[in-house]
Symmetry: D2
Subunit: 372 residues, 4 copies
Amino acid sequence: MRRLRLGMVGGGQGSFIGAVHRIASRIDDRFELVAGALSSDPDRAAASAAELGLDPERSYASFSDMAAAEAARPDGIDAVAIVTPNHLHAAPAIAFLEAGIHVICDKPLTATAAQADALAAAVKASKARFFLTHNYTGYPLIRQAREMVARGDLGRIRVIQAEYAQDWLAVPLEATGNKQASWRTDPAQSGAGAIGDIGTHAFNLLGYVSGDHAVALAADLHSFVEGRQVDDNAQIMLRFASGARGAIWASQVAVGCENGLRLRIYGERGSLTWAQENPNEMIYARLGEPRQILTRGGAGLGVGADRWTRVPPGHPEGYLEGFATLYLDIADVLSGKDVGAPLPGLEAGLDGMWFISACQQSAAADAAWVVR
Amino acid sequence: MRRLRLGMVGGGQGSFIGAVHRIASRIDDRFELVAGALSSDPDRAAASAAELGLDPERSYASFSDMAAAEAARPDGIDAVAIVTPNHLHAAPAIAFLEAGIHVICDKPLTATAAQADALAAAVKASKARFFLTHNYTGYPLIRQAREMVARGDLGRIRVIQAEYAQDWLAVPLEATGNKQASWRTDPAQSGAGAIGDIGTHAFNLLGYVSGDHAVALAADLHSFVEGRQVDDNAQIMLRFASGARGAIWASQVAVGCENGLRLRIYGERGSLTWAQENPNEMIYARLGEPRQILTRGGAGLGVGADRWTRVPPGHPEGYLEGFATLYLDIADVLSGKDVGAPLPGLEAGLDGMWFISACQQSAAADAAWVVR
Amino acid sequence: MRRLRLGMVGGGQGSFIGAVHRIASRIDDRFELVAGALSSDPDRAAASAAELGLDPERSYASFSDMAAAEAARPDGIDAVAIVTPNHLHAAPAIAFLEAGIHVICDKPLTATAAQADALAAAVKASKARFFLTHNYTGYPLIRQAREMVARGDLGRIRVIQAEYAQDWLAVPLEATGNKQASWRTDPAQSGAGAIGDIGTHAFNLLGYVSGDHAVALAADLHSFVEGRQVDDNAQIMLRFASGARGAIWASQVAVGCENGLRLRIYGERGSLTWAQENPNEMIYARLGEPRQILTRGGAGLGVGADRWTRVPPGHPEGYLEGFATLYLDIADVLSGKDVGAPLPGLEAGLDGMWFISACQQSAAADAAWVVR
Amino acid sequence: MRRLRLGMVGGGQGSFIGAVHRIASRIDDRFELVAGALSSDPDRAAASAAELGLDPERSYASFSDMAAAEAARPDGIDAVAIVTPNHLHAAPAIAFLEAGIHVICDKPLTATAAQADALAAAVKASKARFFLTHNYTGYPLIRQAREMVARGDLGRIRVIQAEYAQDWLAVPLEATGNKQASWRTDPAQSGAGAIGDIGTHAFNLLGYVSGDHAVALAADLHSFVEGRQVDDNAQIMLRFASGARGAIWASQVAVGCENGLRLRIYGERGSLTWAQENPNEMIYARLGEPRQILTRGGAGLGVGADRWTRVPPGHPEGYLEGFATLYLDIADVLSGKDVGAPLPGLEAGLDGMWFISACQQSAAADAAWVVR
């Protein structure tokens, strides 16, 4: 099977998520990175390309140059990964979609609703595919959970509790020049704070697993760190189309929390509890029976979870493997194969944009309900 | 030191909490049960008294008879434990307070605001003391947590996340004649569902530990079980006097949860995480340092937590010991000794009544904020 | 039901295990402490008795006086708890047995083989009963485990891994005058170090649960703390009558361990894992199925575990309740009731003495096998 | 930096460890797989090579052809990964070493002492380097542990408890034609059972972390599964050069255990506890202080653990990343860079061979001590 040729926009030296995408794309050996517009700073772009062993000719000064040039090459890239700050998602994505090149875009979709609208139009107009890397959907046990809910193992869902707590912004890190903190806390670049950076992951995940849609939310957003221009803590209540209720707590000031994404979903007959920091285990409770410890690839699981597991149970897979699974799936989709699980794309992106804007709208109205 | 003479109202055969109070009162050997009005059913009252080895003369047909007779005896009871359903707290408590007998009352304070007002007046008018058994405040690590917050170990508090999840009412147990379920789901007897039965514990606990006061709440209450007349699931957002934000999730339909009371409190410099089901451990995080596992009576704790621990660390104490600590403290208070920690009483009870009524008022207004 | 009258030998001020026995005897209200020879120091004996509210007339200067006097009283004690250091178990136990008074003796049986022989003869000659407080057998999940093994849930047992690790003797505490450390590290008073103090508990527990008998052991004993006269660390390999293999690690110098008694038992078809520090949970694995989390009194357990549980699942019971269960069972046995689980007595005591002496004999032969 | 050219011997279709080596070699993008002798079956070799996108010309029928041809090419491989069953490690390793090509060999070193001697001679005679993939040494927290022990954080080491428990051989899987089970339980191919397959990992790891050397061991080996020709359970006692004591339990019949490699190391002043199945956490206890939870890349760690961590704390890395770290280090070593941690090679391999043979020798003498 031919490796797909991958380009990258953003992800130069100092980038966090760019390196993650590159490792993720390599793990299952379905992509080969061959081109990039790695930085808006030409020197950094060139140095980054050299470090990665790219052909200097395919290290571009801008994403528009890159889209044009790669589309014109017989050996041009099949897909591009866009790993820039949020406000720079839409423009390159549109450029590549218009050039007929598949787009793999980091989340959230965009920084503004206007950008999202433009991108949505481009996706619909293009023959190329658009993928959004809500990477936590790549964890095998998350897919197992989704299957279990879908086939009714838990009965009708009643309550969904999600949370995503970190502490890296408990202090004004943006005031120190930290690159990651700076753009994430600048409303012009990020569009939102904790709700966009991590809240969207939690929101996406609970929808992915439950198959349910939030129809209303009430959000109490707050900035605890003095001078911060975006929310760093959010308490959110949710109502779902099915009648289920739920809550999301997203915080970047929760001292002691590293990357505390956690999902609990309760139905009439059963429940599932999963935490990202030890993603190879999930607790499955059935009413009136002892709780079970499900493990990735372990005893008693359905076929679903096995598909995306590379090493036997007890040999932990982690964040990079979960991310890699999205790349593996994308390669399969682009090769015309059935993947067996939905892949986040435009719809998930627009859903996340609704979440962000509904939170902000609710907060502006003292946490009143915002109905979709 | 003379054992205090204890009476009991309620707690006859089939009672859950009556037996708990009796064990709790025995563990530290400061009380002796000598009288009771154990049931409103005379036969059950007599049978229960016989089982407990009470003098038949001191097994009373009613709490009013008991209050009068015990007050008149030279060896009358020092204190009475009231362990009846919520709507039967106020009347006996008032009777004993008026008779000059100390009252140890189960929570919540009462089933209605009118009952609470009457009881509050009686407490203020009496020389006798009134205690409310918010038993989870008796856990040594909860007291350790309170001390740590009070002395500033965590810095200014930002976020408080509490939850209390159970699953025993995931099905319509009240329809089966189950006694515990029946009165707890009857609004006339309980006054509220999950928010009163368990939510008040969570609310009390977060106030006890944080020393902070909720000034506003928004509550989305729901009954998932068909035909149920009280709430069985509650999502609640909180705002505190200090500016902190928080949330409580209380549910009695959370399949797989036994008695999942959990408290997390985050300050500027540190956080604490504690779960009732393994109460001998608490996680203490300090910003920029590895998390610590504090243990009851264990290495590195302050004097506070040692006072209420009976056996060395690693020898687990549990629910009954935590409950017993309230009885121990009450005995000390009644003996004029300093206890070293606040004991829940009328104020905590009224605070809980505010919580219940504010939740109901908020829910009636589609989860609008209710400000204290 | 009449409360049984209990006496106590040892357990005066400063005793650890005496206070534990007293609480344990009170929890289920089946015993009343009425007499004692609480200390060999007359002043301390009197002061201790006064603190406990004993009738001064029934505070004795010696166990022999006590045995004689109590046997002669119409309201004399039914049973005596012996909570002295190991070398002082045999003499009082024999005295009370000869006086026809039931004996509840702390473990291990005695400090020497000669004492054990004498005590065994007395037990056999007496109509009174002899109980040994291997208290960890009182945990409900231990009894659940025993039932599960007995009825074949695990299939034929293959491997048993037990350990008991503490750190309180990681430093020469005995050199500081610490009373608990001093007698436990004095061979004349204790007869052995870690193997006697805690190793016997592990050995007893694995036999209790497995129903199997160790037929050979090889022990590598060591004293890490300079100047210590008894073992403070032991690695022990075991062979069982059934063909199963096993190991015990007992250590009192394992920094970070509080009271780390842990048992794992593996059969052909299943396994159980239990740790004393969180005794309300046990992991049950069945070959080819997800592991289950069994909880005390929780969903899906057999009748066995329910019998010895006082509060619902999720309301943790601990060390004192486990200990209390032995007292509850003893009260039932002495009242002629069926208990439903074996209670440790002389046989368990002699088994423990074999364990201690076999370890010492093996260690003296450079850890050669000692065959029973 | 030029990617190193990698070849592979073994690892064709159906291989477990070959796929692991390939992923591990890709994660950090320092190797490119360009040649292979992937199977002794020519058809499977060709099909496997095609699947992996190898140039057909560089898919060889035998390792000897491959060594000769690659050594002769200007663009020949820099290193070869040998991922065959144990008895087929020595011959290819020697061939490539003699051809001047670096060798990355799976563990254990060989199946027999004679093979080990021959290989050792070849390593010493060659200018090429020899690496042994004891992959668990690549976990960042294992390297953190090693540093902490080396700089004395724990004080003098007293006790080391290691275990490696699995259950996949709890039934006679080898009788079903399972390829992995078949060669591992065939003495001619594997040389040993559980002690070679997993025991050597535990033995290697405890030496790696402690820096101590076992000078004597006593091993009780057993085969529980009927008809099995190698050990499937091992209880091993250890004595170390420093005077420390320890134990290893290795089992492949421990129902409920997936890949339970666990290490605990106790010194005079501190201890460390680590378990492979959740490798991103390690408990660090200091005498008289609360235990700490160290996390990979997390707060308060030394520089050491940061070097080998790709994503921030809370983003779990797993088995593949730990394995990849060995490949990363090997690339650095072959590029003349300092690595900062020892890499397992011939010495570790010979140490493992001593362990295996000493276990077998001890078992043959009824678990007598075997002194190095």
